[in-house]
Symmetry: C2
Amino acid sequence: MKTTEDPRYIATRNLALDAAFKIFHSESVLAVTHASVSAETGISRSTLYRHWPHVEQLRKDAMLRVARPPVIAPRTNGPLKADLNWMLGLLMAALNETPWGKIAPQMIATAATDEDAKSAINGFMADRKRDMMSVFEAAEQRGELAPDAPVENLIEMAISVPYHRKLVAGLPLDYDWLDGHIETLCRLALRPGAAD
Amino acid sequence: MKTTEDPRYIATRNLALDAAFKIFHSESVLAVTHASVSAETGISRSTLYRHWPHVEQLRKDAMLRVARPPVIAPRTNGPLKADLNWMLGLLMAALNETPWGKIAPQMIATAATDEDAKSAINGFMADRKRDMMSVFEAAEQRGELAPDAPVENLIEMAISVPYHRKLVAGLPLDYDWLDGHIETLCRLALRPGAAD
DNA sequence: CAACTATGCAACAAAATGTTCTATAAGATC
DNA sequence: GATCTTATAGAACATTTTGTTGCATAGTTG
């Protein structure tokens, strides 16, 4: 029997990582240690050391397992402005109100030195970009898009600014701001004649 | 005589923080400890503990003292496109080639839980935004700007995307990309009739 | 049931972290 | 220059965190 299939092993692992994530998001990555996870779960320290010989492994596993941004289902009903409002409204809410807002900065920092964390967060972002792309493609098929709309750049702008405002600039993310942001995006995206 | 004015105290402090910064940017914040700084400088551990009773204080001081983004002098000669090219080119270089690119993520992560780090990085960003504002104001005075240009949003977009590409999306920051980025910004900023 | 293996517990080892005391040397005061 | 003050180096020590190991127990597999 392989270790990785033993139900006890799996159960311990899941329990530990859930607790690790809880600690991670209520305090910080640094607060995640074998000792703190043991205290939180009742799992003995020695068992945790058998699963993760070093703290960094434990922290990274906790991060990679559950620290992913909420997936936002792309809405492509149109019009573009409404779709953007839906997508970016959810992104905004995710940054403001879910653990992701607290966890993202620590993942970003980890990604600077750790390849696994880097490819994880890069992957998340590529996915979000792809979702956004489908929104713009739908708009194009509806004939809403300006023929020369710089879609790639617009998508980057759409997503980057909320992250930057929240994590770096420390500015509020609210619907007042979002309206203006979307308005600006649409000015470049929409065909001059299109309904606004 | 006050402690904070004693030249020996100042010298020790400077030496220690310089070393701390060096360790910080060549390894990580976590590598900054009283022991590592002592080894790097020859300052005795007990002295370091007198200056910074706890590691976090030492780490934070190192961060706040020297971890600031390179200041980019605003260029406002015009035309706007050239000014943007100058400013964003330097920002790009700073992110790609100076310690700031490695340090920023760790500051952002620290800012999520520490008020001092937060206000420091928020302050840096507000400064950069202000610089960018002077660029746009100069363009306006030259009559380049579209009357309804959403300057606030444009500035946010201009700055946010490079940070996001580098730190979150893991995409390259190069002149190929920058040209398109600036082109897109100018389309929204410039008066329809203005020279491009 | 028999063989295997993950767990809990306790004892231990090692390293990181923090404290305190003393002698010395550098700076400040007169 | 003599004296008082204060920061430092160094060492000894206490504490906490981190990691290891051996063994009895209990759950899992065949």
